[in-house]
């Protein structure tokens, strides 16, 4: 479902170059991306998300060449099809848990915030045991709880692709395992695709594929 071909990308005024000849990730696959820092792992995620545009090559997701879409089309695609989970959660401190979960529906016109969505959010929160925290602000939550909120936000719209950048980086071992279980369960239940950047080698056994950027010589 995700195909990267002959990708060449570099940042302005930087010596960094990312070069991917070919990368294919199938629907429903759980792929881990590992490698030293600075090898372009997050850059690759951003290219897949359409946040960055390659100088050369194509990024195809669900048969759509993302890098050739208009900005608004790319944005709309991203918000409907891709869910993001970040290492530092990236919750808005001034919104409560429920508002954070519903954030995508407030910041893009292509998604409508309906009563049904609200109910779904509440159900999703309940399914990962944060339903009693809905009206609290992130500062009142533990790291594990915050990451679960971020996951709810990412999964509410039932994306076909989840991009997780070190989702367990700030969590203790028990929470790490819990978070990965949630993601894996979602992928299994909804035939979604998961691409996770991680430095935590203990989690690799749960993935279908491991992309080692150092061994594959991707990114300089």
């Amino acid at each position: 479902m995700i195909e990267l071909s002959d990708i060449k990308f570099s940042y302005p005024n930087s010596e960094f170059h990312l070069s991917i000849d070919s990368l294919l990730i199938g629907t429903g696959e759980k792929t881990a991306v590992i490698g030293p820092s600075g090898f372009g792992k997050t850059t690759m995620l951003n290219l897949i998300a359409g946040i960055l545009i390659p100088e050369h090559g194509s990024v195809i997701i669900k048969e759509k060449e993302i890098n050739h879409l208009q900005d608004s089309e790319r944005r709309n695609f991203r918000i409907k099809e891709i869910g993001f989970v970040f290492q530092d959660f990236k919750l808005l401190e001034y919104l409560n848990v429920l508002d954070n979960i519903l954030l995508p529906f407030r910041i893009n016109k292509s998604l409508s915030l309906t009563k049904e969505i609200l109910e779904n959010a509440q159900e999703l929160a309940a399914s990962i045991n944060i339903e009693d925290k809905l009206y609290k602000h992130p500062s009142k939550l533990s790291h594990g709880e915050r990451q679960r909120v971020a996951i709810c936000r990412a999964l509410l719209n039932k994306p076909s692709l989840i991009l997780a950048d070190e989702p367990t980086g700030n969590l203790d071992p028990a929470n790490k395992a819990h978070i990965m279980d949630i993601l894996f369960d979602y992928v299994d239940n909804y035939s979604s695709t998961l691409i996770t950047v991680t430095h935590d080698y203990a989690l690799l056994s749960g993935f279908d594929e491991v992309l080692d950027f150092e061994k594959l010589n991707i990114g300089i």
Binding site: K90, Y94, R153
Partner: protein
């Protein structure tokens, strides 16, 4: 737009203190020049209304401004007294009627204005509680006096002791409040009114004491002969006028020589007023006569100049405040870079993010305007204080 507004409100509400500070500071900057303008305009309007409603004021020669301020606002500027003889002379002209005023004393911080009942008819003052003073020793208080001192009919006020002649002293007199005036939004609200005679009693020109011709206490008698009894300083003067001792109150000296601070003259018509002014110019009456509206106009012109200075200062302060606010907004945006990036990553457009931030600013500015508007409306209540503290 609705969702953006929601997020914007949430941000501002979460940072309550910061929001309140910003709203307050912007609001105050917007309010200050407008509020000052309103204060000055209303003060001008009130002062001119007061001055226009007072046809002529007569007093001893000296500062016409002090004379007008004493007569219209009962601010006890140092003006020389004149005597009731002038009052009599003015009455005899038949050109109108004089209203003598004596404003020298205070009670609990408020000026006491001695006058007669003509003043109340002239100013169309209405009693909201109680009645007008009937006997000496009674007083009527303005609405704000009643409010600030929390007193009403049947309560009492004691005049503040002062050394009037520097050697005799004046006698604090306990006065009964018999009436409270309806609010007028004029200096009358802040004044205690008594009969002139009551003021003269405070001055010591009149007093009450035991009957010296009948007293058995010889220690109060300095000298006695067939026609006169002279009392010494030991004789106790009543410091309150009651039904029982009212009869004993009397005055020494000729009433013609009793002091007053000024006279409001109400001419029969414009021609009579002009004739009277002519008499003063011809030195038929040796005092000064002023038209209050002209004096107040001159006074207000100085205020106008000060207003210009204030406005310039406000513009500069406003400009500086806006610069600081701009800096705060810029720094705030920098601090929120991560938040903005998150929204962009999730799928928001730059336009949407600008919309949210723009709405935050708009809510702040609108709230500031509303705050400034509220302050503006409240300003009206302080006009009298403004006049009292800053103009006169």
């Amino acid at each position: 737009m609705k969702q953006s507004l929601y997020i914007a409100f949430k941000y501002l509400l979460f940072h309550k203190i910061r929001t309140l500070i910003l709203v307050a500071s912007i609001g105050i900057i917007i309010f200050l020049p407008n509020g000052l303008q309103k204060l000055i305009e209303e003060s001008e309007s009130q002062m001119m209304a007061r001055a226009d409603s007072t046809p002529l004021v007569i007093g001893t020669k000296g500062s016409s401004t002090d004379l007008v301020i004493n007569s219209l606002y009962f601010r006890q500027e140092k003006i020389e007294n004149m005597t009731m003889k002038t009052n009599g002379e003015l009455k005899e002209t038949g050109l109108g009627y004089p209203i003598p005023l004596l404003s020298t004393f205070k009670a609990r911080g408020f000026s006491i204005a001695g006058t007669n009942l003509d003043y109340f008819n002239f100013r169309k003052l209405i009693i909201s509680k109680g009645r007008k003073f009937s006997f000496v020793g009674e007083c009527i208080i303005g609405s704000r006096v009643a409010e600030k001192l929390d007193i009403t009919v049947s309560d009492s006020l004691i005049s503040s002791p002062e050394n009037y002649f520097d050697f005799a002293g004046v006698y604090p007199l306990k006065m009964e409040v018999v009436g409270v005036l309806q609010e007028t939004n004029t200096p009358d609200d802040y004044t205690i009114f008594t009969d002139l005679k009551t003021n003269w009693i405070i001055m010591g020109l009149g007093h009450g004491h035991q009957d010296l011709s009948k007293t058995l206490d010889q220690s109060v008698i300095l000298n006695r002969d067939s026609s006169n009894v002279t009392a010494n300083a030991k004789l106790f003067m009543y410091n309150e006028i009651t039904k029982q001792n009212l009869e004993s109150f009397h005055f020494h000296g000729s009433p013609e020589n009793y002091p007053i601070t000024s006279i409001i003259f109400v001419p029969k018509d414009i021609k009579s007023g002009t004739i009277l002014r002519g008499k003063f110019e011809a030195r038929e009456i040796l005092n000064q006569i002023v038209v209050p509206s002209k004096v107040v106009e001159t006074l207000l012109q100085s205020i106008f100049r000060i207003k210009q200075i204030f406005n310039t200062v406000f513009v500069l302060v406003g400009f500086a405040t806006l610069l600081i606010l701009g800096l705060i907004v810029t720094l705030s945006l920098r601090l929120r870079k991560d938040e903005i990036r998150t929204m962009f990553t999730i799928g928001s457009s730059k336009a949407k993010i600008f919309e949210i931030l723009g709405l935050e600013l708009m809510i702040l500015v609108l709230s500031s305007f509303l705050f400034a508007l509220a302050l503006y409306f409240v300003t009206g209540y302080f006009v009298n204080d403004f006049i009292n503290y800053f103009i006169i």
